[in-house]
């Protein structure tokens, strides 16, 4: 799990007392804050030292570390609220130990101030800003496995239990039934992403026929959605190809998947049933994305995993165990729960009653319906006792797949006489003898004609097509029919199947292929000869039939459609480098012009230049070319296409005398001089005047009278920055022209271009990123340290001109704390100028430790 902050960045957000406590834990002498941070940083980044101390860490602290390390950042309030998952005692103590040793770090808290250990004892409400925690990488890498917790739970003697004859795989079978029902009904999905009521009713009705209650169906729907076995497609709920893969997993693996998804599911379906009055509050106090949301399920699963294998326990004892572990699992001890329930009298008595009415029933249902239904536990004595099954040990404790079930694949066929296939392509299926999988296949590949205990199906080409779309192979379906039928299939049915299979093999659509292309035929042949997993297709292509790819120079991805690919080339040509062009680019271009291939494999494209063709729609062609080009098309393409199409683009030539001034103001003034209008013909841009033929001497005389000299210059004529409206008029060719050297202007331009250059080459344009944020006081300490050590600093700064924080690299020079508000004087590497930054507007900061100035 990647951590977002460095150890130093986190420690900088701690207050001095907390840093002192950390130093004391590691036996370090307490010194200044900066020195403490430096010493702790060295220790915490050394895996050897961390591992040495972790070996003696208490069990509940290790369990806590494992829990926190599964998340990039987790809030303090959240982790304290799920104490049952790591300790049976006080939730704060393991956390205090982990924080004091730096095994868990607190992320920078922005404007909330410095972190203190006393924050652990604060009471946090759902929307309160609570410190974010994470386990640093150096700790994650050496984290020892969490020890198993042993709980004292009274056992039931073996001889007194009569196991219930419940099927151990009910839930997985029910999920297969659900997939079948989705295949049949394909319920509509409304704009609100819920299933259409009428269609859902139909699914419920069909489910009742095969013995699945509506509650289970709702739960299964959520679980299979999370497993991506069903998804919305074109406004209907359909079974996805992922379902086919999932169905082919072993029974144990499927049950394990269902169990995990059930635990992670955040929809609180159970709460709506058992806590109808408190649902909205529980929903608000256990927000989505937090551990608290699924705590009530995970706590039961965790406690289940601490039980001995194959030992019988009473259901009631287990529910009491949950209560002992954390009675507040569903907010029973929160005042709002009692207020909502209008509790009167002794609050302790009310809590006892509320537990029996709500929590106890919920957990009894969870054990008897969900865990037993998934085969995690086996019930006995009519549901009053239970024990972990081998499947439960595999699912909860991560033991190897149970031997009895490891090779068991889903049964697709039923008994040998489950169906009868007739010569008229009708199939009679006796539902009591069919497995859910066989029923699903029949529903996928056949049309259902008559429902009932002996359901009649008909095989048609259309139904076969539909079945093929479901992803199951036709050969597989034929095999299923043969195995489930007592008699051999009629000859005509078998012949027809052979025809369909032949037709299927005539066209193969391969998706997600890896196709290697060589520049030459010889290379392709050599590559195919040396690699058995590459199949030569045509002359230059090789299809990779293995997951291991040969070395390739470049990869072309097809994940993005219609992205631009052309680059301007010589003249009006455009090119696509060989490394970039894909197999559809030529088709896109063939209607727009002619294509050729260069010797290095590049694709060269020349747009069609035909006056008749271009006359009406040269603009359309230009737009199309622009959409295919990765950079803006240079103006020559537009001009050239317009010139070819309209034929009225003419360049007019003439020799004139020009006078150029160093600033626009002088040019303006000269235009206004008395008598100058007779000598000046016009103006080119802001700086340059056009002199009338043979009137230069007259103009010189007028200017001389005003103290302006005119000299002849052969220097490069124009280096002025482009000003709006001027670019089209600017003359770029130096000639025998009369000019006034614009030295100052040149200097300015050079400075500007240098700055521009620096902007493009400097490191000061990092990608927007999440930088640690601190209070102004901590920020001030960090900056003082950076100034002292001459380190570059990356800041996210929200200037008063923009609402968005801009990330830039700065060289901090001096803090001006007497200014109101306090500011930092620094050199901005992005703008290449000195700048002042208000401390209150720095939204994030990171010292670049390896970069000095």
């Amino acid at each position: 799990m990647n951590v977002p902050y460095t150890v130093r960045e986190c420690l900088q957000g701690y207050n001095a007392d907390t840093l002192g406590a950390l130093c004391a834990s590691w036996g370090l002498p307490a010194r200044s804050k900066e020195l403490n941070i430096r010493s702790l940083e060295q220790i915490l980044e050394s895996s050897t030292q961390v591992a040495r101390l972790l070996a003696n860490a208490p069990g509940d602290t290790l369990r806590l570390l494992h829990l926190v390390s599964c998340h990039p950042l987790i809030s303090l309030a959240d982790i304290l609220s799920v104490r049952g998952l790591y300790t049976g005692n006080c939730s704060v103590e393991p956390l205090r130990i982990a924080l004091q040793h730096g095994w868990i770090l607190v992320a920078p808290r922005g404007s909330s101030g410095a972190f203190a250990l006393s924050d652990l004892t604060r009471e946090y409400r759902p929307n309160d800003p609570s410190p974010s925690l994470f386990v640093p990488t150096s700790v994650q890498t050496v984290l020892p496995p969490a020890p198993d917790e042993t709980l004292e739970v009274p056992r039931v003697p073996e001889g007194t239990v009569i196991p219930d004859p419940s099927p151990t795989d009910w839930t997985t079978n029910a999920s297969l039934e659900f997939l079948r029902l989705v295949d049949i009904v394909q319920p509509r999905v409304t704009a609100g992403k819920t299933l259409h009521r009428a269609d859902w009713q139909q699914v419920l009705e069909e489910a009742r026929n095969v013995g699945i209650p509506s509650e289970s169906l709702t739960l299964l729907y959520g679980i299979l959605q999370t497993l991506q076995c069903v998804a919305e497609q074109n406004g209907r709920l359909v079974v996805t190809p992922r379902a086919e893969q999932w169905v082919r997993l072993s029974q144990s693996q499927r049950a394990c998947d269902l169990f995990q998804v059930f635990l992670e599911s955040e929809d609180l379906y159970e709460i709506t049933i058992f806590f109808p009055e408190s649902f909205s509050s529980i929903d608000a106090y256990a927000p989505a994305g937090t551990l608290r949301r699924t705590y009530f399920k995970k706590l039961a699963a965790y406690l289940l995993s601490t039980l001995d294998t194959s030992t019988w326990y009473e259901v009631q004892t287990f529910v009491d165990l949950i209560k002992t572990r954390d009675r507040n699992v569903l907010f029973l001890e929160e005042p709002w729960r009692a207020i909502q329930a209008h509790a009167r009298g002794d609050i302790a008595v009310w809590r006892e009653n509320a537990w029996r009415t709500h929590e106890e029933r919920l957990y009894q249902w969870m054990l008897r319906a969900v865990f037993a239904g998934m085969g995690i536990i086996q019930l006995g004595n009519q549901g009053s006792v239970f024990r972990l099954t081998p499947q439960g040990v595999f699912t909860c404790k991560g033991a190897p797949i149970p031997e009895t079930q490891s090779d068991e694949l889903p049964q697709t066929q039923g008994a040998g006489d489950a169906i009868v296939v007739q010569p008229d392509f009708e199939v009679i299926a006796f539902l009591d003898r069919c497995t859910p999988e066989l029923r699903r296949r029949l529903d996928a590949f056949c049309d259902r004609i008559r429902p009932g205990q002996a359901t009649t199906y008909r095989i048609t080409e259309e139904s076969i097509r539909r079945g093929i779309n479901s992803g199951f192979p036709l050969e597989g379906f034929l095999r299923v029919l043969e195995e489930a039928s007592a008699r051999p299939l009629p000859a005509n049915v078998r012949d027809q199947f052979s025809t369909w299979i032949r037709k299927r093999n005539a066209i193969v659509i391969r998706t997600n292929c890896k196709l290697v292309e060589c520049l030459s035929e010889k290379d392709a042949r050599t590559l195919a000869k040396n690699n058995d997993q590459l199949r030569l297709i045509g002359t230059r292509f090789l299809l990779c039939e293995d997951t291991q790819l040969p070395h390739v120079d470049t990869v072309v991805s097809y994940s993005q459609e219609n992205s631009p690919f052309l680059e301007p080339a010589e003249g009006l040509q455009l090119k696509c480098p060989w490394e970039k062009w894909n197999l559809f680019h030529t088709r896109r271009l063939e209607s727009l012009g002619t294509l050729s291939r260069a010797s290095n494999g590049d694709l060269l494209f020349t747009p069609t230049i035909d006056k008749k063709l271009l006359q009406d729609d040269w603009q359309t062609l230009l737009d199309e070319l622009q959409s295919l080009t990765v950079v803006p098309l240079p103006p020559r393409y537009r001009t050239s296409l317009r010139a070819y199409a309209e034929g009225n683009v003419v360049g007019k030539a003439r020799t004139v005398t020009l006078v150029r001034f160093e600033d626009p103001e002088t040019a303006d003034a000269v235009m206004e001089l008395a008598g100058s209008s007779g000598a000046i013909e016009g103006r080119l841009g802001n700086y340059t005047l056009v002199v009338r033929k043979a009137r230069l001497s007259e103009l010189k005389r007028i200017l001389k009278a005003h103290g302006i000299r005119v000299i002849t210059s052969a220097e490069c004529w124009d280096d002025t920055p482009v000003i709006n409206g001027e670019s089209a008029e600017q003359i770029s060719q130096p000639a025998e022209l009369t000019t006034i050297p614009a030295s100052a202007s040149k200097k300015k331009t050079r400075a500007r271009s240098k700055r521009k250059k620096n902007v493009s080459t400097s490191e000061s344009a990092p990608a927007p990123q999440e930088l640690p944020s601190y209070s102004t006081k901590i920020m001030q300490e960090i900056l003082e340290d950076a100034i002292q050590r001459r380190r570059l600093v990356l800041i996210a700064y929200e200037s008063s001109l923009s609402a968005r924080a801009d990330t830039r690299v700065i060289k901090p020079v001096m803090l001006d704390l007497h200014n109101t508000p306090p500011v930092l004087n620094a050199f901005c590497c992005k703008q290449n100028v000195a700048r002042q930054f208000k401390l209150s507007q720095i939204r994030g900061i990171r010292v670049l430790e390896n970069e000095t100035f």
Partner: protein
């Protein structure tokens, strides 16, 4: 050895008879989704259009097989050259 390029995630149609490919290429619905033939019996298809192409082929009376990855086997004799 000159440069090599990997087309990753591309979809291909392989047929047993080049005439069949000609028929497919001449179909106005499918044609926009196809690239240039890479052999007599093989043509690339835009990955996002596979479902549409498959539907159209079925509407034309074919029963195309769809294989998700390149590791699956094609029956002997039906392989593209």
């Amino acid at each position: 050895m000159n440069k090599t390029k990997l087309h990753e995630g591309i979809a291909l149609i392989e047929v047993s008879d080049p005439l069949l490919l000609t028929e497919i290429e001449n179909d106005p619905v499918i044609r926009p989704y196809l690239g240039d033939r890479i052999s007599d019996c093989c043509v690339p298809v835009m990955p996002h259009a596979v479902a549409e192409v498959q539907r159209r082929l079925q509407a034309m009376g074919h029963l195309p097989t769809r294989l998700h990855c390149a590791t699956a086997e094609v029956p002997k004799g039906d392989q593209a050259v």
